[in-house]
């Protein structure tokens, strides 16, 4: 089953690098503008977490949360009307005409991704399917000022992570 959803060469994914995120919420605004989403539903939301270590030092971390388009998506399994399905691009696709607004998907989603607006039917991040088809990054990645969100093929992202690791190693060896 997992082989079915493997991305074809050239298909992009979204890298969410928590170490770079500073919680500016630019991704949320970019998403709203791109998809014309009114205040209320948040297809993307950056949440802040405050932690205190044993020494009493306080630090913040941030997590941009959208639909993760899971490979083994629990929402697809529980949707009683088959409104959710996996498409050929490896994205979890919503057919809103089938949605009855029961909320089952929200109850099982580990990321709180399903959103509900005025019509009380589910809506969520569609992965900027059309932008990606035109070889554009997702809107959230394009407007992220800190490089926390990056849109590239898995091969490119892997290379990016490895080269920055190598640069750091070289700097330490100096």
């Amino acid at each position: 089953m997992r082989e079915e959803i493997m991305m074809a060469a050239g298909e992009t994914m979204l890298l969410i690098d928590q170490s770079r995120c500073v919680g500016c919420h630019a991704c949320e605004t970019a998403c709203k503008m791109e998809n014309n989403v009114p205040p209320g539903p948040r297809w993307m939301e950056v949440v802040e977490h405050e932690s205190v270590d044993a020494a009493g030092d306080v630090a913040l971390s941030f997590l941009p949360l959208n639909c993760r388009h899971c490979a083994d998506a629990p929402c697809i399994a529980v949707c009683p009307t088959q409104a959710l399905a996996r498409d050929g691009l490896g994205l979890v696709r919503l057919e809103r005409e089938r949605c009855i607004g029961c909320g089952e998907c929200l109850f099982v989603c580990p990321f709180g991704a399903p959103q509900f607006g005025e019509d009380r039917l589910m809506q969520k991040c569609h992965g900027c399917r059309e932008r990606r088809a035109r070889n554009l990054p997702t809107a959230c990645a394009q407007y992220c000022p800190s490089g926390a969100l990056r849109c590239a093929t898995p091969r490119e992202l892997s290379h990016l992570v490895r080269t920055s690791r190598a640069a750091l190693g070289a700097a330490r060896a100096d």
Binding site: V22, G23, T29, L60, R172
Partner: protein, 549 residues
């Protein structure tokens, strides 16, 4: 200024002081900072608040608000005591090191810890790391928002000089500068007062002391104001005094896109064009590029480009010859910019254009020369000593820690009644008072909220999201409480830029006082030197008490 574009490629350590690069000007710095860190650069942040960028730092020093000068002096003393200072640089490019050390020498680690609250080991480690790397000192405005802000900046700059971390790629002391916009590049005078027009100047009014100045001004008194591209009331430190001053005017005109605190008091509100409907020019902090803003829409409804309004007003006041009716914003830009500036290259899709290096070299002070009478960094400032003869003020030639006037150290009596010190962040979601009225921003920000340390909240019986009243003898402000260790005990954080009419404005609580070094009195002046006299506003010079509402 050495821009992030330059230092990020060379620096070994960034010391970020009073600068929340993760919220203010985020597009200009954070990516470059990460580039430097991925090359292996260290990051030390000095900020009383746990910001996002402080959470990315290798070391985070959290001085009690307004004590930063003590911290810088303590670091200097530790560096010199360990012989980590740059004796060669000090001899060749500075003067007054011995006078500096007479002051800094008193700041042992123990005394520095007592005043700042920063552990001795952390002060020592930060000082040693800063001194022994190719270090870049990046200053924001945070530490400067007190009545001792000018002294603090003096001390921090001295820290860089003592280590010789100046004028090298990746090593410099940066303060907030808007590219070359203020250094002679833009011909502002040719637009404000075209050659031949000879529009008479009467006097100067301090923008940081505008409310008191407005009431004090005589000969002639100020009876009318036309305000544009800024908030007259919301962002003034003396918001209450500003409202009183505005009530005393015969005529107030606001040119705006929204109905703000200012428009509530205006006799006339003129609809302003957005940036999409008019020509403009974009210099900014932390880079040295210029981009021309090209209108992409016709002015909507009854709005007109700002320059058209001012030119029409000038024509009706008898200056027709100098403000040609057929001129567009682009013609005015030609006048504003140097004659040899490649205008077309600075427009989409070509721009931006780097400003000429004669105004802003990539590595300023590379030759060790400085624009002082001695040509050196004046650790003992002869200019200040001389200025003291001409104007009242706090003209200490060497940096000292003097408590901020309204702080627990500066006014213990007041602090007994109002024990909490207020600091205001610039949130990522707003630019000063802009955007806070937009539903899309309100959705992210939520209602007006103040940060309280859990210990301070517990002592007052305040729980998370309780409605609280922040007050002193001047005013009060009602907001929700957020209990968080992001703020130090004894500190309240209330964002800047909240509108008065929608609640949570912090400036209602502030005493109208301009900070030094020059004492600007009532704010009406015959002459003023921006570089020497200082023009900071002590926004965080503010003590309050908090109670459950």
């Amino acid at each position: 200024m050495q821009t992030p574009e330059v230092w990020s490629r060379h620096t070994e350590l960034v010391l970020m002081w009073g600068c929340n690069a993760s919220a203010a000007g985020i597009h200009q710095e954070i990516g470059y900072l990460y580039d430097a860190m991925e090359r292996g650069a260290r990051l030390i942040v000095v900020d009383p608040i746990v910001t996002a960028v402080a959470s990315k730092a290798h070391l985070h020093l959290r001085p009690r608000p307004s004590t930063d000068a003590a911290l810088a002096l303590g670091m200097i003393n530790h560096i010199v005591s360990r012989n980590l200072h740059d004796q060669d640089y000090l001899e060749r490019h500075t003067q007054g090191f011995s006078q500096l050390m007479e002051e800094a020498g008193q700041w042992t680690l123990e005394r520095t810890r007592e005043v700042t609250g920063v552990p001795e080991g952390l002060i020592a480690q930060a000082a040693e790391e800063y001194a022994t790397h190719r270090s870049l000192l990046e200053c924001g405005y945070g530490h400067q928002r007190y009545t001792n802000g000018h002294r603090t900046q003096q001390a921090i700059s001295a820290l860089a000089a003592v280590c010789g971390h100046m004028g090298q790629p990746g090593a410099h002391c940066n303060f907030m500068e808007v590219g070359a916009a203020y250094t002679g590049f833009l011909n502002s005078a040719r637009v404000q007062n075209p050659p031949g027009a000879d529009i008479k100047k009467t006097r100067l009014i301090s923008i940081s002391h505008f409310g008191p100045a407005l009431r004090a001004a005589q000969d002639p008194p100020i009876k009318g104001i036309i305000k544009w591209r800024g908030s007259l009331i919301t962002q003034q430190p003396d918001a209450r005094g500003m409202i009183e001053a505005v009530k005393g005017l015969d005529f107030l005109v606001s040119i705006d896109q929204f109905l703000t605190d200012d428009t509530d008091w205006s006799d006339l509100v003129l609809p302003a064009c957005t940036i999409f409907e008019q020509w403009g020019v974009h210099p900014s902090y932390r880079h040295q590029y210029l981009q021309l803003q090209v209108p992409v829409l016709e002015p909507q409804h009854e709005s007109m480009p700002d320059i058209d309004f001012w030119a029409e007003l000038a024509r009706r006041m008898g200056y027709e010859a100098y403000f040609p009716r057929e001129w567009t914003g682009l013609d005015w830009l030609r006048l504003l910019l140097p004659d040899d500036f490649p205008l077309e290259q600075a427009m989409h899709p070509h721009g931006p254009v780097r400003l000429p290096e004669r105004f802003c070299p990539p590595v300023p002070n590379w030759d060790g020369n400085f624009q002082t009478p001695s040509g050196k960094i004046e650790l003992y400032s002869g200019v200040y000593a001389e200025r003291a003869q001409r104007f009242p003020g706090e003209w200490d030639p060497v940096p000292r820690y003097v408590p901020s006037a309204e702080s627990p150290d500066g006014d213990p009596e007041r602090a007994a009644r109002y024990p909490l010190l207020v600091v205001s962040q610039h949130p990522a979601t707003r630019t000063h008072s802009q955007f806070g009225n937009l539903p899309y921003i309100q959705e992210i920000e939520g209602p007006a909220t103040a940060m309280l340390h859990p210990d301070d909240a517990a002592a007052r019986g305040i729980a998370e999201h309780d409605r609280i009243r922040i007050y002193n003898d001047r005013a009060d402000s009602h907001v929700l409480a957020h209990l968080t260790r992001k703020v130090l005990p004894g500190t309240v954080e209330l964002d800047s830029g909240r509108w008065i009419k929608t609640g949570g404005n912090v400036n209602l609580l502030i005493h109208p006082r301009a900070a030094g070094p020059r004492d600007v009195g009532d704010g009406v002046m015959a002459e003023y030197d921006m570089q020497l006299d200082g023009h900071t506003i002590p926004y965080f010079n503010l003590l309050v008490e908090v109670e459950k509402a």
